[in-house]
Amino acid sequence: MTLARSKCEETEVTTKSPLTEIRSKPLPADTHTCWSCGSMRAAHFCDSCGKVQPPVPVDYFTFFGLPPKLKIDVPALEKSFYELSRKLHPDLNARAGSQEQEWSMEQSSLLNDAYRTLKDPIKRTAYLLHSEGVELEEQSKSATEQARATGEAKKQIVPPDLLEEVFELNMQLEELRMNKKAGEDDPSLAKEISGHKVTLEAKHDALLQELQKYWTDWDSLIERNHGSKAPAEERANITAKMVDVLNRRNYIRNLLRDVNAALES
């Protein structure tokens, strides 16, 4: 973690934090007061005495004081992250060996996880899906179980022509690798694969754009319901579309990775 040490004035306590501005969800009632001075506390440290507070089990959005929306102001998130890192830092001398230091260690690791997850568009989406009860890792298994039960062939989660495409391209990549190993260059094959690379990158971008469209749908659903839970059906509608994009993206991402590796090797 790189902290902007020069700007780090440890005595400063109550400059107006972007966290308090964007905070939308109140903390559970019993965590409202500071353990040390008893005044109202912010989520992670006390606004009046600056002491680190015991971590409250919250989701990553709430940790940053954000609503569970997918369009995130990443620079603002980053700013909050650095500010919090500094304030929660377990190595402050004053905290050494105390219970407060333990809390600040827990808070700091939570902070890192939350930041790493939220700043990344894919991880953020997967995290939201997970909190909506979607088990990305389990979808294949449940579809297989269904196939077993009905005796039907399993419904593939992505379109068959995508699988064909992935398979064919992988065959070509293998050929390219074998050629290279044997010391024979096949410029036309390499050229063809470079062409695929361009197409794949475009596809990858298109998928991200599609995903962002569903982010917008999701965010406006959350806004329309002002904090209270939107109807399950509407949520599931949107999350299903996001799952679909993420699944297709996994294949494209792998191909891109392998294409790059094969071309560079």
């Binding site: 990305l136 890792e137 979808q139 294949s140 298994k141 297989t144 196939a147 077993r148 005796g151 039907e152 062939a153 399993k154 593939q156 989660i157 992505v158 068959p160 995508l162 699988l163 064909e164 992935v166 398979f167 992988n170 065959m171 293998e174 699944n247 996994n250 294949y251 494209i252 991402r253 792998n254 191909l255």
Partner: protein
């Protein structure tokens, strides 16, 4: 993560890698993918029309070591079985045989899917209503 000896063995010496004529009437082809990781697997079977016994099986997998081992094992297992017997193979059988850890279960699922898909394709070619069970042994 460390792979079990059996996985490593299948990975280093995969059995039955290759392909068969997709358009042949006796050949069933299953092409499946694991959305969790983006890996793909193709498994083909050649079935004896009289006995419904799977006489040959081939696979090609682009994926992790566990997926390669699972599909290699799957081709070994289906050979000599009737299609109905082959349909009884469950991913957990593969997990047990290869001692796959929980994070690699989806790789074995892929192999079961591939068997199912190949058999499904073959059945389709025989006409959906093939009374498989009524066939004489």
């Amino acid at each position: 993560m460390s792979y079990s000896d059996k996985v490593i063995d299948h990975y280093n010496n995969p059995r039955n890698v290759g392909s068969m004529d997709k358009s042949s009437n006796d050949v069933g082809t299953g092409l499946v993918g694991a959305p969790e990781c983006g890996d793909v697997m193709k498994l083909q079977i050649k079935v004896n029309r009289e006995t419904n016994v799977i006489e040959d099986a081939k696979f090609k997998t682009f994926g992790c070591g566990s997926a390669i081992a699972s599909s290699s094992l799957a081709t070994e297992w289906v050979k000599g079985k009737t299609v109905d017997e082959a349909l009884a193979i469950k991913n957990m059988d593969i997990v047990k045989e290869l001692s796959l850890p929980p994070v690699k279960i989806h790789c074995s699922v892929l192999a079961e899917d591939a068997i199912r898909a190949a058999i499904g394709d073959w059945k389709k070619k025989q006409g959906v209503h093939t009374p498989v069970a009524a066939e004489a042994k």
